[in-house]
Amino acid sequence: DVKVTQSSRYLVKRTGEKVFLECVQDMDHENMFWYRQDPGLGLRLIYFSYDVKMKEKGDIPEGYSVSREKKERFSLILESASTNQTSMYLCASAPGGLAYEQYFGPGTRLTVT
């Protein structure tokens, strides 16, 4: 079974802190994604990566950056956390080619106070 893990289920940070959310997949997938999930808004794509060190902006990249130094790990970075970044963050991975089979992690619920 594909396993996508995220470093924390719950995280509380203060405004202005630098926050790292980590995602690891164990299926050698080329593609990895970070989504943000908010009630009434569904899931929105923040960034994705289709190879090591490769990344593309999604729909809402402002305030976020990403890092992919190894194939299995994709990090989401909030350079200076703000209260409007309080949300559920979901990581997903998918194999190369047509990446229509996205496997999701359990999510990290981030609260910024």
Binding site: V4, N31, F33, G40, L41, G42, L43, R44, L45, F48, Y50, E56, G58, L90, A92, A94, G96, G97, L98, A99, Y100, E101, Q102, F104, G105, P106, G107
Partner: protein, 119 residues
Amino acid sequence: AQTVTQSQPEMSVQEAETVTLSCTYDTSENNYYLFWYKQPPSRQMILVIRQEAYKQQNATENRFSVNFQKAAKSFSLKISDSQLGDTAMYFCAFMNKRGGGGSNYKLTFGKGTLLTVNP
């Protein structure tokens, strides 16, 4: 840009009954995928069913089936013999079938429908 609309924020159904969740989408593309994802309370999102736009036959996975109407850009999910474990948020999603990597792999999600199965 593609959009996905789920017009039912919440629905409920009695155990063992059938329920249909609605989804419409807007795209100028001809080749694409449509998906239904399920997110149970406090659990991971999983893929329920996938439909390729060029296939006229509706996809089926056990108790889950879709009604895909390409001309109407409609993609509803029918759950038969509902079970308590079907209680979840359900998301409809769209992906272009262009290949070539990068932004072609972007999933566009609807806002979700919260389904509650009552005993």
